[in-house]
Symmetry: C2
Subunit: 247 residues, 2 copies
Amino acid sequence: MQRYFVKNIQINNNLVTILDLDHHHITKVMRMQINDRVEVCDEAENLYLCRIVNISKKDVGLEIVDKISSNTELNANITIALGLTRTSKIEEVVKRITELGASSFIPIEMNRSVVRILKDQNLKLDRLKLIVKEAAEQSKRTKLMEVYEPIKFKDLLKQIDNFDYLIYAYEEAGKTNNNQMKNMVKKFKNKNVLILVGPEGGFSLEEVNELNEHGFVAVGLGPRILRLETAPLYIMSIISYELEINL
Amino acid sequence: MQRYFVKNIQINNNLVTILDLDHHHITKVMRMQINDRVEVCDEAENLYLCRIVNISKKDVGLEIVDKISSNTELNANITIALGLTRTSKIEEVVKRITELGASSFIPIEMNRSVVRILKDQNLKLDRLKLIVKEAAEQSKRTKLMEVYEPIKFKDLLKQIDNFDYLIYAYEEAGKTNNNQMKNMVKKFKNKNVLILVGPEGGFSLEEVNELNEHGFVAVGLGPRILRLETAPLYIMSIISYELEINL
């Protein structure tokens, strides 16, 4: 069933008002009619089964029929920090890690980033949020992944007290099989985890030293060199596998 | 270091001749000079360190300096069969699963495929092979993933004797937590494994019945609904995680 995320102010008692892009989606894309059913998710992760009771040119009115219990959220708060790169690659990563259950995404300007904040960065936060919303609706999440404006590497280091685990994906760790990932992933349940994936050129030696000094653990993602678009997906997949797939 | 896959006929004693797109890449993209070094991988997965000894308008001559040992290939033969869909999505999957170590890829026309073989399918095998070659070079593989022309679902069922394990990714299995993936993945070492991911609309009931009759095992990939572009990456990531990342 089609799912839509709404703001709490769109809900009034047992009535929900759908506006703008979602109104367009219901009326023009899905061509739904009165009495058709949709799911609605509010900002507190409540999920409702709703029935269309009114369609006008500006809004769609829904009546809440039932509250649904859902358990599709990953039981770990994973923040993916990604070396700032071209917008198309960031959008691709944002879409996929939303599907895979990440909690937050933040682009980081690093020494070897091919794109610089302000200078040539044209990342639109509104567009990223729309990508997150659509991916969350499609993948049946009940929570929207947070996306943040790009920050500099040194500013990321100031925020690390918010996290229980600090990790960076480092290809040298993958080559030497000096791998801590398996040990760590099992401990992520209900924890706040920050995972940093470097830009195309990788981490500079200076950055590696700073990460190590700040308590980040280097992990490898196997013997092949993964592109920066692939590495976050590998990480989110294995976290889901360890925490969500039971024997 | 830059890596290039070559045909065996390009190697004559300790000399390698580089032509066409790779010639262009070395001379125009990388702007390499005499004495610069590259890696070359032949059809038997031999990897050589080479030195540029000659550059002309048509070819680049390399001298083999050393044989390199490499261990970047996944120790399981994984064939990803994907419900036939739009070419851009197939190209995306082919690129990513090459990085992640898959052995073969084959698109399958299924009941709910939005694209049909012959009618509106414009998949170019040459273009897919080029994507595989570039992704394999970049990810430091020594073997090229095989890509095949699309076939019909019933023709896939005729080929299953070639495989030790038959699996299909089924979202209903993910919802109910009836999950066999963890049990199975550990057994994939040195085995031939066929993994089928359905098209956008999922499997038809008829297809599910046929798969079950032919001995395919349904596996879930967690509680969220993954897009068909994401599911093969999830699968390849967890296979790499189980077989390649040691404690």
